[in-house]
Subunit: 109 residues, 2 copies
DNA sequence: ACAACTGTACGACAAGGATCGAACACCATG
DNA sequence: CATGGTGTTCGATCCTTGTCGTACAGTTGT
């Protein structure tokens, strides 16, 4: 029988339709988080674990940023062994905030 | 000879093309400032003085928000007597950040 | 069992920014 | 000129949040 691991059970994902605009903007207003999103936008889904991003912060801080992005409905995460894989929720997020993601990451800072 | 008033001389406007994305997002990430922008978007240019906005903050704070919006290239201001009139710089801002303004203010919070 | 690796949780710290009161400058009007 | 109205500037305060070290949990491989 296939059972969810205890770790995966802690992963709660929100419906982007329920995310306040304030949360979405707060999530997008950080350069490290935008860097993560741009990275995800240029790679296939589920191919990037949290540790594979080249970020200018320590892992505790990176973990915090991933949590913010998840709670803003911008990314989905899934555990694969010891690693946590990521996916950009482009379609879902675009449905709730048309044009916002593109306007924010399809462009240099 | 027509001379700029001392007060108007303090009014510096930036080129939206020179505004960093970070500044634009920081400006848009505040609910009071979004409220100002939505108000401007639904009124004719130069018809709203700073004091005519119904804001949940004191005037010193409101003044700060107008300054942030101006420095982010989102609004233009012009003095008319004792009052400072405002205009939403929609076209200019859209040229630099396509879709960002609409995605942010064409919607409830 | 043990060690190495990945990621989170928690507490602490510092920086930034939103807020306000008070003082000030400018304008208009009596 | 005096008064009232509009808006800015300056400190001070408070709160949020980005940052990190450390400790911990779960996984993988030896």
């Amino acid at each position: 029988m296939v059972v969810e691991s205890a770790r995966a059970r802690t992963l709660s994902h929100v419906d982007p339709a329920e995310v306040p605009l304030q949360s979405a903007l707060d999530a997008l207003a950080d350069p490290v988080r935008r860097s993560i999103l741009r990275d995800l936008a240029t790679h296939d889904d589920w191919t990037r674990a949290c540790g594979t991003f080249d970020l200018p912060v320590k892992k505790a801080t990176a973990s915090h940023h991933f949590a913010v992005l998840r709670s803003a409905g911008l990314i989905e995460q899934r555990d694969e062994g010891a690693r946590r894989l990521n996916r950009l929720r482009r379609e879902e997020f675009d449905r709730s905030f048309p044009g916002l993601l593109s306007a924010t990451i399809d462009r240099a800072d």
